[in-house]
Symmetry: C2
């Protein structure tokens, strides 16, 4: 400890006005509890998934983040082996209870990610319900972490609990597989996509489908202005990010925005966790939360936040991918289950080389975000037509 | 997840030279495992002590930090009540074991702080021993967290283990009370201070005493150039930070540097954790680790790192204190055990208002540090004379 414990008057020059504090020439804004996020997700010692992919980026853009760890693992499960423990429902409950009793529970912003099992998720559900009942304007981004690319990586019994939690959520950020799992609708056509969004919007005002591969059915219905550039290599795959905001208290359809980004080949972990965190970090609803009409000519608060999150996440991925491409050959092998099985260390090295380069790319995270830089999501005119 | 799992060639423009990678115009340095730190200390959901005070600052200055949590609490113990659990020795052991097996253990830099009990500390000791035996150039900063201001806040049985661990440590950063506890020498005179440093240097090359109150005995022996400015308010208290580097393999005395900073009144938690992290982050030993001669005319690598850490820590404290001073009166009460006992929420509010403002003051953490800005530690000429 450097400071002693003598407690009397402050000793250095402080000049202040009602709005700012000046200490030795540096401005210090007064507390804004709106700049505090309670984040509940996994922790790994090494690498960047869950809280390790979410907390530092949110701190970089100015949030105090309260960090509750749902697991404490050595590394992410992509390495196939890991050590450590899951937090029990009782542990989580005791942490939330104490934070509540001594007035440390964030009233404004809540972020939840990977929760290991149904009992723990029930505890998080109760917390979300409590916070929402205390503050109807709570901004709760729920990332319903279930799986990816057709594979569940949680137990089945969390699915109904996530559905029950929809009514407390402000924003949800499922990937395409999670949308299918939560709605029961395979995303194979525009009408299926509309159907899935309608189901989710019954309970949640703001929905982002973080990534849908640009398959032929989607390519066919995508507005011309959102299509890949004509010059594109035919082999290049794309992912579509869709934001959909419903105006509360009306029967009108949601405002849908979308943007295509090139798929960066290779499996990178923590990308969804980073995207969700940045979405919450950049989300600033209108003063009246029921008002989700465009806050500029063409954007909603959600499409604005999604654009910032998509741009920064994609830039971090490019940065990471470029790093991985420069590693010695043995650290940047391609995914090949047979070769991996024959030589287990092969996969470990590849995984290590693909950990997100958040620290080295922190200038990307800290970029000030404005509309109109050519990276906005575009309004999908006519999305709901002919329904 | 945004990225899919198709795995073939990278898709974006990468221009590279042997030393750097350029992605879309941004430079990306190749991996440097020397820029990775394994940090082992406490975790709290709310507020900034232990890992929460150490990790973000190290990330801001460019380190990948691997984070192993020795406890998972709701908040720091200054709030008097807290929820959560301590990691068992078995849990810590399983995490280290897995990290080792899959090649994720940092080879270059290790930081340890609060370890809850002797069994857990034994596990950390074994780890430090293993890392040191694998890499004799390991930079291990051990903060022997025992207590402060005359009070132990760990159990007695960790003390002998910390002493056994000295031989693996590169730098230790005890406060004055921890120096007294570890050496058995009450710091009441210059010769006692010399004696304590000699005892610690028997095992450790670099010692920082992070803060000693400027009591009359110390004031009397302090070189004139280090004394408080003559204009100073007589009521202003000061703390001295001392760095002491021994040259390995010689019988000569250590090079001692020091700097005085004004005591900022009030009890702030996490300050020592922040200071230790920044010291390790700014420590760059000479290419030959046995060479700790001044790397400039007047500085050692240790005095350089201590100056950076002291300046940044003190600036964050000033920033935090200025913030606390602007809170409503009920959130910035003075320390008064009787009033606190009568109205428990009084202390909670004060604690909350004094959480370090690391996020809001991150520009301070990121400042590039150079010698000669008037904030260096000064060489204490004649410190060992007349011994």
């Amino acid at each position: 400890m450097i400071a002693g414990s003598i407690d009397d008057e402050a000793t250095m020059a402080i000049q202040s006005t009602p709005e700012t504090i000046q200490v030795n020439g540096t401005t210090c804004e007064p507390a804004d509890e709106n700049d505090r996020i309670l984040s509940i997700q996994s922790h790994v010692a090494y690498g960047y998934v869950g809280g390790k992919a979410a907390v530092f980026p949110l701190q970089c853009i100015g949030y105090d983040v309260d960090v509750v760890n749902t697991v404490n693992f050595s590394n992410h499960t992509g390495y196939e082996r890991f050590g450590g423990t899951r937090a029990s429902a009782e542990e989580l409950s005791s942490i939330f209870k104490m934070m509540d009793e001594i007035g440390l529970l964030s009233r404004h912003r809540l972020l939840t990610g990977y929760i290991p099992n149904a009992a723990a998720l029930e505890v998080v559900k109760e917390l979300a319900q409590k916070l929402k009942s205390r503050n109807p304007h709570l901004i709760y981004l729920m990332d319903p972490v279930l799986g990816d690319s057709g594979k569940l990586y949680v137990s089945q019994d969390v699915i109904p609990i996530y559905k029950e939690m929809f009514s407390f959520a402000t924003i949800i950020t499922p990937n395409w597989f999670e949308v299918e799992t939560l709605t029961g609708v395979p995303l194979l056509s525009l009408s299926a996509l509309r159907n899935a969004l309608s189901i989710l919007h019954k309970h949640v005002q703001h929905v982002i489908i973080s990534s849908i591969p640009l398959q032929p059915w989607l390519s066919k219905v995508l507005p011309e202005t959102m299509q890949p550039p004509a010059s594109t290599d035919n082999q290049q795959a794309y992912l579509l990010c869709i934001s959909s905001s419903r105006t509360i208290g009306t029967s009108s359809h949601s405002a849908v925005h979308a943007r295509l980004v090139p798929l960066i080949a290779g499996y990178f972990s923590g990308v969804g966790d980073l995207f969700s965190a940045l979405t919450l970090g950049h989300f600033n609803p209108s003063p009246t939360p029921s008002d989700s009409k465009p806050h500029s000519a063409t954007q909603t608060p959600l499409s604005f936040a999604a654009a910032a999150a998509l741009h920064k996440t994609h830039s971090i991925l490019e940065f990471t991918n470029a790093f991985a491409a420069r590693l010695p050959p043995e650290d940047r092998t391609s995914t090949d289950d047979e070769l991996d099985a024959a030589e287990p260390v092969r996969k470990l090295k590849r995984m290590r080389g693909r950990e997100l380069r958040l620290v080295q790319g922190q200038h990307i995270l800290r970029e000030e975000w404005r509309e109109g830089q050519g990276k906005d999501l575009q309004f999908w005119d006519g999305f709901w037509d002919s329904v």
